[in-house]
Amino acid sequence: MTDTTAIAKPSSPARDDYLAGMKTIAPLLLVAGPIGVLFGTLAAQKGLSPFEIMLQSALVFAGGSQFVALDMWAEPLPWLTIALSTLLVNLRHVLMSTSLTPNTAQFSAPQRFVAFFFLADEVWALSEKRALKHGLTFSFYMGLVVPFYLMWVLSSFVGAFLGSAFTDPASIGLDFAFTALFICLVMSFWNGIHTGAVLAASGLTAALVHATIPGAWYIMAGAAAGMATAALLARPDNVENRRTPEGLS
């Protein structure tokens, strides 16, 4: 492990960063595992073979859009609708990669192209959090990605065989794990009343749009409302203030 990041940050060698990344992602592996198993199980019930399930998890690596695609999976396969829905559900990643790009100054261009293939919500959130206090290295990023990616692909493969084990995940509250995870992530970004205003705007907008417009537009609408609120509340002398997330051990 002797890449350029070690030269850029002599006090924190690449190997330490990689291990720090693995340590940071560890709790989320326990969250991603059951969700991956759930995905594999539902996909198998839709008639996908274990190979197809693993291929989808490996090539797409975006849980939300994979569940949405499953919902539409039928014969004959509506491939264009599925592809467009995937694009729509994942449009938020444009904002995420835009927001993360300035924090990847220590990445080489090829490293960035590889790294952003794996830019799942959780990877992005933890990378932004890391960038606040330590600066983000490619080694740390890959420390997050490798275990998380392997867990997602392998757990969906396991789910493909479990078949009927989780016939009703809602009865044991497993479907709520996803929501609970995002609630915890929101709380880690809390930084006073401004955050409250942003959350109120995006939450209300998302709920309204979700109730009135079909599809995944509510995520983009809620994000836009939150961004507009933050822009309106910004004071010119205040733009250097950084949010300070806590929690998320």
Partner: protein
Amino acid sequence: MMEELFATDVMSLWTIFLMGLSTYVTRIAGVYVLRYVTLSGRMEEALKAVPPAIFMSIIAPVAFMTGPAETISAALTAVVAMRAPLLPSICVGVICVAFLRQVI
């Protein structure tokens, strides 16, 4: 057994490929956005608000519009998350929602 394991067809492969391509396009697009746009202070504030705003948007339909079990569990999870680490907080939310769905 092996044939079932690897069963697939052209349309499924094509659909999965397009899903992967769509996702990668959204993930790499941000690298280029900033090359053509210069950020003002206001835009930077807006960009910083993206993470919590997106998380809130994903949460909102489940937390506010599904039922009392989900709303109460979401509120409890938020309160617990202020003090407790990630995994215990998620467990509290999941157990709470499972319990309330039986009771309500």
